[in-house]
């Protein structure tokens, strides 16, 4: 995977993770163009896009778009499932996640992403293991979070 972007229906970036080295200028350009292209697509259209020499896989969850860039030989469908698994993880962690959780706790969203994908590759597919790792790191402080997790 080359990068992952989360953005709102209004085109506001909520999360960005780049797995390939690019300059800030390029990142901004790609983000701008891609957000525009994806937002312009109609709901019944296909979740895949050929964009420049990349394949874009995107999916909308409520008001938030999850968008991944993969290489040509990568499997589009499994990338959709990566997005879905990430949403599941967020959902489990925050407890019925919504866009606001990600806006206000985006660093947590990053931590979860880093436990799931590392360097652009799937690191751990077991939901239990990912959340265990996050829980361990969350320990010591923020006890309120534990109550959420224990449910």
């Amino acid at each position: 995977m080359q990068f992952m972007l989360l953005f709102s229906r209004q085109g506001k970036l909520r999360l960005q993770k780049w797995y390939v080295p690019l300059s800030d200028k390029e990142k901004k350009k790609i983000t701008r163009e891609l957000v525009q292209t994806v937002l312009a697509r109609k709901p019944k259209m296909c979740s895949f896009l050929e964009w420049r020499d990349l394949k874009i896989v995107y999916k909308r969850y409520a008001s938030l778009y999850f968008c991944c860039a993969i290489e040509d030989q990568d499997n589009e469908l499994i990338t959709l499932e990566i997005i879905h698994r990430y949403v599941e993880l967020l959902d489990k962690y925050f407890g019925s996640v919504c866009e606001l959780d990600i806006i206000f706790n985006f660093e947590k969203a990053y931590f979860i992403l880093d436990e799931f994908l590392l360097g652009g590759e799937v690191q751990e597919t077991s939901k239990k293991n990912v959340l265990k790792a996050i829980e361990q790191a969350d320990l010591l402080q923020e006890p309120w979070m534990h109550s959420v997790l224990r449910e």
């Binding site: 660093e107 361990q136 923020e142």
Partner: protein, 1137 residues
């Protein structure tokens, strides 16, 4: 205003929470008090981008103050970091905080450290300089006993780590592969994967440990190791065939549900793992029957087990199909895979349909009948509202195009093209259309019209090969001459019609194509006269929207047409207009036209009609100018000096140390002018070699307008070979295929209800036109597309790959030849000017020489002067310079060897090769070092002899050479000597290879030794090396010479005056043979062919011709700088003797 905003902001949180009951309670609680929360809310409340910018800038400046304040606690810093990340995400620069992120990672407690690492991984990239500061922190954390810290360090290493610092952490990470916790092992494997990506050779030694990771008892670790294996197998599949069995076993276990339930995803066992394994198997089984056989069973099971209940099973199925088609084919599996593709294609879900099309595109080359089965679906997809589906369908159609369906498919592609706006799509599609049009065009009109569409839409973004290939096709023609003429005529007519349209702007590239075609082929017209065409071109020339590059094409076309037009006012007007143009290039073209225009007969012979492909004999040595040159010389003009020589003289005048090898900086301007894409002629006229202005200059002159037709490397050989393949394909009887298709359609017709809508009928019609010619009975064709008919536009056989380069140059010559004479007309001025210049310089050089000769007479030269010595180029200096390198025949060399006082220490081989005199290069009271060169066939062997003058024993004498940019120095055995006895001599041998050409270079080093009393000493020395030390004769035949000559692009020409003694060619060549080690291949009349090579193997050819006492030298080589250097050496030799 800002006050109001702030007040509103403070009031906002409450409002916000009320309005957003959907917000998770936890999230709201956490953010209520945080400052990030208020920032986010503030931004959400704003309406304009401008306000947002203002707010963020405010926030950033307050953050800047906070992070740099010494009182800021780490806890506050953590909070600041989160806000900085947020600001960066919104697109604002927060680089002032980067260093603090690193600090936080270093100093913070666990939670702070975590944020610090996160900020670092988001802010920085692999080659960011600040990243180096993180290395110590990472090393420390990797050694920590706290698991969470180790995890954090591994996580950051797997994302960004400076390549050059890998060795610092590698051993620590290797250790982690044995860690008891699986999460640590997993992350360590991924960190190593990252290292493999950025610096593969650094992790080569741990490949064996990867195998251990593959067999790890934890599924996560094993899965992580598959990333590395996939990558390594992609790079080299043959090295991992032995692992096939293991991968198959793992896949079997996964498919069989043997993994812990944790790894299930929607009750499908470990889909990510399955897909990874399938991809690996596909790579391993490719073109390998034995390996493929191992995996047939498990693939079959995978296909069977993946019940279609969820997207993720489709993902696995898709990968399975891909693998089945990648490996050595097995019919049973192919059949099942084809069925699967059918499920995809026919699925109502659009994502699956897309993948079905993608799979079809992939397998169509192996199984064209599959497309026939799904023809109706494909037709539907062609009109799909989603452009992505359309595009994939066109991609599929592109692969099944043949001569029968080309018009329909290209029409569909053009329709799509007109709707697309994205440049990437346009470039891609235009290339495909042009390729299909060239291959399968049914008739002239269609071909030209299609190409017109390509040029109008593709315009200036398309690949330059497209117009180049098109023009070549027109120019070279096909087997049938009348057909060719018709095609050309049609092109001319269609362009004239296009140009008649008012207010239409065509892309520059299209205009260039038009102007070339009109210039070459307007003579075919019977209605319009050349004058009318010129008038149209003139109108374009006066158009401001036409680029100056295009204008040169236009004016070239006008020039070609002028001799055909009897008299044209337009030409007069054009000359009048452009001879005062501010664009120098245009002005020159106008002047050329003007002068040619005055002599119509000359112009007609210069610009013959329809000869763009014919060879033209050119007197490249410009011997017709000899009289003129001789006259100039007899009147006291200084002989011409080439650019680089003048440059050197200029440099030496400046008395600056010059450590650069000569000629590199300027050779690109004057001497490789033929290659420079836009060599503007005025520049090269002055810097170039006046005696050869004829050929070279005109070439560079017209490069601007003409060369682009063929691209840099001439015609692409790729295309040629393709054509060869195609024409070799067997034509398949077409009628039977047509029948097949018909049958298929009629069957469908029958089965369907009779009340068929009109629309559907149209679709069927389209289908029959699209899928015509797809051989249903044709066997699996692994080679590529099955081309069912022979092509209309088959190239003439004369254009063979090998010849293409040659043809290009001929083209260039012909096209540009018309200006060669006009150039001659200007020659006077240039020549006189340059002569004048040179006269001045000559004087200066002379005085400088005498100065330096004086300094030379001093016994000990200071270092600086030594340098200036070698940077000087006068022959006299060279002779004085203690570097007698050239030695006449071997007999003398042998005698030299005997004479040498060091003869006893020579190694065996020394006598076999020519070598130089031994020469003392440095000494002190204890030792004296002398050196000599042995010119071996494959290298230069330097021998340093160390004589122990003292009465004591020397211990561990050692010689070391400083690394030099231009050489590769290799030590020969026996370089460190334990003991050197009193009054004896030892020698050290080094072989020297040249890395890049130079004139002279200094090789220096030092010798160190121990005296008996353990006192150690060191002595430095240096030796001059000349290019000629690396020149060896190249023994080839005249025939090979001819072949090589044509293949070399870099050439340099120069006339050298010969001294009395060498007046005849043989004696002159002999001098070159002896002094420069050139090999004389043949002497024919007053011409001679010589060849040499620069070690290790860069050939250089020399063609000599004698007129009176002038020797015309013409060098060619594959290396761009070598001819310059050799010419310089030749001049030295010829003038010096």
């Amino acid at each position: 205003m800002s006050d109001i905003v702030e007040k509103t902001l403070t009031a906002l949180p409450g409002l916000f929470l009320q309005n957003q009951p959907g917000g998770g309670p936890a999230a709201a609680k956490a953010s209520f008090s945080s400052r990030l929360g208020s920032l986010v809310r503030g931004i959400t409340a704003l309406t304009s981008k401008h306000e947002e910018e203002k707010l963020i800038q405010q926030e950033l400046s307050s953050l800047k103050a906070t992070v740099s304040a010494p009182t800021t606690t780490l806890k506050m810093m953590k909070e600041c970091m989160v806000r900085l990340i947020y600001c960066e995400m919104l697109g604002y620069d927060a680089s002032f905080g980067y260093i603090h992120a690193i600090k936080l990672a270093q100093q913070g407690n666990l939670l702070e450290k975590r944020v610090g690492y996160l900020a670092v991984s988001l802010f920085l990239h692999e080659s960011h300089e600040l990243l180096l500061l993180l290395v110590n922190t990472v090393v420390k954390d990797l050694q920590s006993t706290n698991l969470v810290e180790v995890c954090m360090a591994l996580t950051v290493v797997s994302q960004i780590f400076p390549r050059e610092m890998i060795p610092a952490v590698l051993p620590l990470i290797e250790d982690k592969l044995q860690h008891s916790k699986e999460i640590i092992r997993r992350k360590a494997v991924l960190a190593l994967y990252k290292f493999h990506l950025i610096a593969p050779n650094q992790v080569q030694h741990i490949h064996i440990k990867f195998r251990k990771a593959l067999c790890d008892r934890d599924v996560g670790v094993m899965a992580a190791s598959l990333h590395i294996y996939l990558r390594m197998i992609k790079e080299n599949s043959s090295g991992y065939k032995d692992l096939t069995g293991s991968f198959v076993t793992i896949l079997k276990q996964v498919v069989g549900g043997k993994l812990p339930v944790d790894f299930n995803y929607h009750s499908v066992p470990a889909p990510w793992l399955q897909i990874q394994l399938l991809r690996i198997l596909g790579l391993l089984g490719k073109d390998d029957q034995r390996t493929s056989e191992l995996m047939y069973d498990v693939l079959d099971e995978s296909l069977r087990r993946a019940e279609l209940n969820h997207n993720v099973t489709y993902a696995i199925l898709f990968e399975c199909v891909h693998t089945v088609y990648s490996i050595y084919p097995k019919s049973e599996l192919l059949e099942k895979a084809a069925k699967c593709i059918g499920k995809f294609v026919l699925s109502p879900k659009i994502n699956l349909k897309y993948l079905g099309l993608k799979a079809l595109t992939y397998v169509i080359q192996q199984d064209p009948t599959l497309a026939l089965q799904h023809q109706m679906t494909i037709i539907e997809c062609l009109d799909h509202p989603d452009p992505i589906i359309k595009r994939e369908t066109l991609e599929l159609l592109y692969r099944i195009t043949n001569a029968q369906n080309v018009t329909v498919i290209v029409q569909k592609m053009l329709e799509y093209l007109h709707q697309s706006k994205e440049e990437y799509v346009i470039v891609n599609l235009v290339g495909k259309i042009a390729e299909l049009a060239e291959k399968y065009a049914p008739d002239n009109a269609w071909f030209i019209q299609t190409m017109n569409a390509v040029f109008s839409v593709g315009g200036d973004v398309m690949h330059p090969d497209i117009p180049n290939n098109f023009l070549r096709l027109l120019a070279e023609g096909f087997d049938d001459e009348t057909e060719d003429q018709q095609l050309r005529l049609y092109a001319v007519q269609s362009y004239l019609t296009l140009l008649d349209m008012e207010n239409v702007l065509y892309p520059q590239r299209f205009l260039q194509v038009m102007s070339w075609v009109l210039g070459e082929y307007s003579y075919l017209l019977d209605k319009e006269t050349p004058a009318e065409v010129i008038a149209k071109l003139y109108r374009l020339l006066m158009n401001d929207s036409v680029s100056s590059e295009t204008k040169t094409w236009l004016i070239a076309a006008v020039t070609k047409l002028t001799p055909q037009a009897h008299s044209s006012d337009t030409v007069e007007r054009l000359i009048h207009e452009f001879t005062i143009s501010l664009d120098t290039c245009m002005r020159q073209h106008a002047f050329e036209l003007k002068h040619l225009h005055e002599n119509v007969e000359l112009m007609k012979s210069l610009l013959p009609v329809d000869r763009s492909c014919e060879d033209l004999a050119v007197d490249a040595s410009l011997s017709f100018l000899d009289g003129f040159v001789a006259e100039g010389l007899s009147q006291g003009a200084a002989p011409y000096k080439p650019h680089h020589q003048r440059q050197e003289e200029k440099l030496s005048q400046e008395k600056v140390l010059n450590f650069e090898p000569y000629g590199l900086s300027f050779s690109s301007s004057g001497f490789t002018g033929r290659q420079s894409p836009a060599g503007i002629s005025l520049g090269s006229d002055i810097s170039g070699n006046s005696a050869e202005t004829g050929l070279k200059e005109t070439n560079s002159l017209k490069l601007e307008g003409i060369k682009k037709l063929w691209g840099k490397e001439g015609y692409l050989p790729k295309k040629e070979s393709k054509t060869g393949d195609e024409s070799g394909a067997l034509p398949i009887p077409q009628e039977s295929i047509m029948e097949n298709v018909d049958q298929a359609i009629t069957k469908k017709d029958q089965s369907q209800v009779l009340t068929q809508s009109k629309e559907e009928k149209e679709k069927q019609l389209l289908a029959s036109s699209l899928f015509v010619g797809l051989g249903s009975e044709s066997t699996v064709n692994l080679l590529g597309k099955a081309d069912t008919v022979s092509h209309k536009f088959r190239r003439k056989s004369k254009v063979k790959e090998a010849k293409s380069g040659e043809t290009t140059s001929t083209h260039n010559m012909t096209c540009s030849s018309f200006s060669s004479l006009s150039n001659v007309a200007y020659e006077d001025d240039y020549y006189l000017n340059t002569l004048h210049d040179r006269g001045d310089k000559e004087l200066k050089t002379f005085s400088l020489n005498s100065e330096l000769l004086d300094s030379e007479s001093l016994t000990e030269l200071p270092l600086v002067e030594k340098f200036s010595n070698c940077s000087l180029s006068t022959p006299s200096l060279f002779a004085d310079n203690s570097m007698e390198i050239f030695h006449p025949p071997q007999s003398t060399a042998a005698s030299v060897a005997k004479e040498s006082s060091l003869a006893s220490s020579f190694l065996e081989e020394t006598t076999e090769y020519i070598h130089s005199n031994a020469m003392e290069i440095c000494n002190n009271e204890t030792i004296s070092v002398s050196s000599y060169k042995i010119w071996k066939d494959d290298c230069l062997l330097m021998v340093w002899s160390v004589t122990n003058k003292s009465g004591l024993e020397l211990k561990s004498a050692n010689l070391e050479i400083f690394p030099a940019e231009n050489f590769k120095v290799t030590e020969q055995p026996g370089c460190c000597l334990p003991v050197t006895e009193a009054e004896s001599t030892r020698s050290f041998q080094y072989s020297v290879q040249i890395e890049k050409p130079f004139t002279e270079e200094i090789l220096s080093g030092f010798i160190s030794y121990h005296m008996m009393d353990t006192h150690s000493a060191q002595l430095e020395f240096s030796v001059n090396l000349s290019l000629l030390d690396f020149i060896r004769p190249l023994k080839i035949s005249s025939e090979d010479f001819g072949k090589l000559w044509l293949s070399f692009a870099n050439d340099v020409k120069q006339n050298v005056k010969m001294s009395e003694s060498q007046a005849a060619l043989p004696s002159a060549l002999k001098t070159l043979q002896q002094k420069l080690r050139l090999h004389i291949i043949e002497i024919i009349g007053n011409e001679g062919l010589l060849a040499c090579q620069l070690l290790p193997s860069i050939p250089c050819l020399l063609h000599c011709r004698v007129y009176a006492d002038v020797l015309a030298l013409w060098f060619r080589s594959s290396c761009s700088t070598l001819p310059d250097y050799l010419l310089y050496q030749c001049q030295k030799v010829m003038e010096g003797s």
